[in-house]
């Protein structure tokens, strides 16, 4: 088996992964209407790659100061509305929202961007595999000549 082919394949794939992971624009994770009542909490799982989240709410229907009745917990910790919150790790987070009054609201969850570790890791893998493939190719050429 020609290992340099596998290494070249890995290098090409890592370059594509690197390109895909460079997108650092803030992205809305969730937009949708939610109906909250005191007896039923909203439980959500959030998949996130940046390690930082912004949970922002827009109340569409409800009484005056309705947002004061809502409490948000991210991974068990109470978080403020409309401010960036560092989640600390890449992965799955649990968002729990509860309220003291019946509220109909629009929920927006934003992600600030990708972690820099992802493109850096793919860049290192791409460079290493390309280097190894080149070294293997040179070694084979040398062997063929001798």
């Amino acid at each position: 088996m020609k290992w340099e082919s596998v290494l070249i394949g890995l290098s090409i794939a890592s370059i594509i992964f690197l390109g895909m992971s460079l997108n650092a624009q803030p992205v809305a994770l969730y937009e949708g209407n939610h109906y909250l009542n005191p007896h039923r909490e909203v439980h959500m799982k959030i998949v996130e790659f940046g390690g930082e989240l912004k949970v922002k709410f827009k109340i569409t229907v409800g009484g005056k100061n309705a947002s004061k009745n809502i409490t948000i917990y991210l991974d068990g910790k109470k978080i403020p509305q409309g401010k960036w919150v560092s989640t600390g790790y890449i992965g799955v987070h649990t968002l729990v929202i509860n309220s003291t009054k019946e509220v109909n609201m629009d929920l927006y969850v934003y992600s600030k961007g990708e972690s820099v570790y992802i493109p850096i890791s793919f860049g290192i893998v791409a460079a290493l595999s390309a280097l190894l493939a080149f070294a293997k190719y040179r070694q084979d050429k040398k062997y063929q000549r001798s």
Binding site: M1, S5, V6, Y30, K45, V47, E48, V92, T94, L95
Partner: protein, 252 residues
Amino acid sequence: MRWDRIKILYAIESERQRAGILIAIVSIILSVFLSLSLQQRFAVDARNFANVLSQNAQYFLLMFFIFAGSTISLLYLTELKSDESKGIVDTFLTHPIERGDFAFAKLLALAYPLAIATVIISIVFLIFSGEIFILGPLLSTGIIVSILVLLLCVFSIAFLSSILIRYSPLPEMLIIFYFVGGYLFISTMGIIPDTRKYIAALFPFLTIVKLFGGINVSIVEIVLMSSSIFAYIILLYLSYVWMNTYKRRALG
């Protein structure tokens, strides 16, 4: 199977053929679909979370199956056809080497490096993108196992169609019909709830993802999936026997 002969032919074929081009093409397809289908930011109801992850993985596998599957099969047929037109099959294969041995060794020389490349790329992606923390170790393993089963299905179909190589473009049509028809079959079966389990009979890799993803899979589906994997292996073996037995009709 005559493994001693296949081993020698495999060594020759792996030096001859252009597996590097195929690996590069499949790497591009695999990495694009992995990035697009798995690496997504989303927020969902906690109760449906496992379902959403599993569906994403299934969607990626289906797209990879159609694009990479048709590419691999058609390239294998093209190489085999080129060998046949050069007279390699008729002139240089002498007894006891049979046509089935040659075609199977050629298939192995493509399949082995390709399987290693896809597994390595998938592992690199799952680890370095942080996807392993999202999918969990079980579903990540399920994706890798599914890719290997997917490759088994692809190579079985490619090997089966190579029997009809003298009736070209019939084998090419068979390949296109299988991959595109398979996608349409899944689309139709997805609409009718009671028939979803029959997808496991044709595409066992989708059920493997469900199984590893912690989704409830019925006994019927598991039986269909197991028998389907077995059927694909039998298909490979029967094609090999056919090529060695019916020389005039089959390849060569």
